[in-house]
């Protein structure tokens, strides 16, 4: 059985828009527009999309905070809104932009309170906390009130808080937003470690695609509330034609651009001293061999496809094709 199932999941909001001095018009905005998705146990799913695509709204519906307009969602076999309290025992949630800790209490007290709220036996709680303390270096600020923590420290606290009851599913909504490089690495390293154990399902929304590359095997891209891609990162690259590049530095510029089978020339830079080829059917070795016969090679670099570039292209494509899903209502 899938841990998370969504079928025809939708969310509509009614907003009032100014339509004159006093008159206001009701409009229905569709934030999530019919999502069908299944996530299996132990999967690490990257859930991305441009701002306003419906990522957070989906997460809020899956965690029972928001009522779906129509559509069905099951998490751990439970209906999120109707069985929210039971579901809360089995999932963990981290919202990067909101805190779940108690502002006035030291982290240590927050954790102790969570033990009672989630009714976790002291032994289990202690073992999980010890593990998080080790992996996330919590010890130096465990007695500091949450309001005095830096963002990076607080996020490490939030992650711990979300895991102390041993959730089956962990939802992370932009967990690395605003973090510095070191804190980001700490958070990613920790999540990777969690994923390796294989018993926690992870759903991660982010704008930082390095998070996804590092952590997720499966990538779901949504835009205007619809799924526009579901598959691996490699599949995304092949679908949208992103290729590895070979950058060759030559001693002297060639009289005319070389033609190598299976590796079309993309750009000529530095007055012809630098050539950039895209790898289609040719291998790196074939490109190097082909070039070596034509000129003296000074240097060769291989550039991996840039996921940001692919995703940006994907967002632009869907924006042109989709348009706004806003419909007027009387």
């Amino acid at each position: 059985m899938s841990v998370i199932e969504m079928s025809g999941l939708r969310k509509e909001f009614t907003v009032r828009v100014k339509a004159g001095r006093l008159r206001r018009e009701k409009r229905t905005v569709t934030a999530v527009d019919g999502i069908d998705l299944r996530v299996e146990r132990g999967e690490m799913l990257g859930y991305i999309g441009p701002n306003g695509a419906g990522k957070s709204t989906t997460l809020k519906m899956l965690t029972g905070v928001l009522m779906p307009s129509p559509g069905e969602a099951r998490v751990c076999g439970l209906r999120p809104v109707a069985e929210r309290t039971r579901l809360a025992m089995r999932i963990g949630v981290v919202f990067g932009q909101r805190s779940q800790l108690w502002w006035d209490l030291p982290l240590r007290d927050s954790f102790e309170l969570l033990r009672h709220v989630y009714r976790v036996p002291a032994g289990e709680h202690g073992a999980r906390l010890a593990r998080c303390r080790g992996l996330l270096d919590l010890d130096e600020f465990l007695d500091t009130p949450v309001r005095q923590l830096s963002l990076g420290q607080r996020m490490r606290g939030e992650l711990t808080a979300a895991l102390l009851h041993g959730p089956e599913v962990l939802f992370l909504d932009e967990p690395t937003i605003g973090l510095d490089v070191v804190s980001k690495q700490a958070v990613r390293g920790f999540l990777a470690e969690l994923g390796r154990a294989g018993d926690t399902t992870l759903v991660l929304t982010t704008h930082d695609l390095a998070d996804i590359e590092r952590l997720c095997h499966r990538l779901v891209v949504i835009d205007h509330g619809r799924v526009v891609h579901d598959g691996s990162i490699a599949a995304l690259h092949s679908r949208y034609g992103s290729r590895r590049m070979v950058v060759a530095e030559l001693d002297a510029a060639l009289p005319r651009p070389p033609e190598l089978p299976g590796a079309p020339l993309q750009r000529v830079e530095a007055d012809g001293h630098r050539l950039v080829f895209a790898l289609e059917s040719a291998t790196v070795a074939e490109v190097v061999a082909g070039l070596a016969g034509l000129a003296t090679l000074r240097d060769i670099a291989i550039v991996e496809p840039d996921i940001e570039e692919v995703v940006a292209r994907l967002y632009r494509m869907t924006a042109e094709a989709g348009g706004a899903t806003v419909t007027g209502a009387p």
């Binding site: 957070s56 905070v65 928001l66 009522m67 919202f95 909101r98 779940q100 006035d104 309170l113 709220v117």
Partner: protein
């Protein structure tokens, strides 16, 4: 043969114990959260004391030469005022907008993600807060009253325990009212309007600005049974100064219990309705 199988306690029992334990843990954390702000407590005590003098002398003037007004003598008025000044903070009649703020900012989402009903969890926190207020905010004005004025001390043995019960119920009732006022934020976003209405009504109708005995008997009765306001201050203070015979006072505390149940049920109902239409804005 002949062995006796031990009966296993029904699971509901252990569930109740665990629920009480959870409630207790949240209440303890509420106590600790409010205990962080010591200067605020000192500032509050000073304000309460200043207004205590003001109220006492106004009531005393109303009592006039006869020394009695609306069934209170001077000593009873002193107790009414000084214990009342302390109770204001214990029931936290004004100034609580935590829930409304969390609804407006969307932080409420974090409360909904806990396995404890939000009404239960906020109530537990409030009980802890009231416990801290009883130590830090009730004791000082009571001591001032005790040292500077002739106050009325209860004569009946049952009065003190009944007063404690009455205060606990007043805390629950006040919490229920404040929760409902705050919950209007689910619909309005901005709760300043309801909050002003609440501040006005609670001050006048709870017996703070004047003991409700100043009003005609029928009006006092109407307020007492028809609204929760007198249950906030007037009833606990009447119990303490033994304004009515003991059986009547027991009945009044029964009225409070009724209001506590009604308000908590209403809070849960409103919370459920709100969740169906909740919009948590922003990412």
């Amino acid at each position: 043969m002949g062995s006796v199988t031990a009966t296993v306690a029904p699971p509901t029992n252990s569930n109740v114990t665990r629920s009480i334990r959870t409630f207790g843990a949240i209440a303890r954390s509420g106590f600790r959260r409010y205990a962080t702000y010591r200067q605020a407590a000192v500032a509050g005590v000073v304000t309460n004391t200043v207004f205590g003098f003001l109220r006492y002398y106004i009531f005393l003037a109303a009592a006039g030469a006869a020394g009695r007004v609306a069934g209170y003598d001077r000593e009873q008025l002193a107790t009414f005022v000084w214990v009342g000044q302390g109770l204001l903070a214990v029931i936290a009649i004004w100034g609580w907008t935590e829930l409304a703020d969390r609804i407006r900012t969307g932080e409420i989402a974090a409360d909904l993600l806990r396995p404890v009903h939000p009404v239960t969890s906020y109530l537990a926190t409030d009980v802890g807060r009231a416990g801290y207020a009883a130590l830090s905010r009730l004791v000082p004005p009571v001591l001032i009253g005790l040292f500077l004025f002739d106050v009325y001390l209860p004569h009946r043995g049952a009065t003190l325990p009944l007063f404690v019960l009455s205060v606990v119920l007043a805390v629950v009732i006040c919490f229920g009212c404040r929760y409902l006022v705050n919950a209007t934020a689910y619909w309005l976003q901005d709760v300043r309007g309801p909050l002003i209405l609440w501040t006005l009504c609670s001050g006048v109708l709870a017996g703070l600005y004047f003991p409700l005995g100043f009003l005609p008997g029928w009006l006092e009765a109407l307020l007492r049974y028809g609204t929760p306001f007198p249950s906030l201050l007037q009833i606990p203070l009447d119990v303490l100064v033994e304004r009515q015979p003991a059986p009547v006072q027991l009945g009044l505390v029964g009225v409070q219990a009724g209001w506590a149940v009604v308000l908590l049920a209403l809070c849960r109902l409103v919370q459920r309705r709100a969740e169906l239409r909740l919009v948590v804005q922003g990412g």
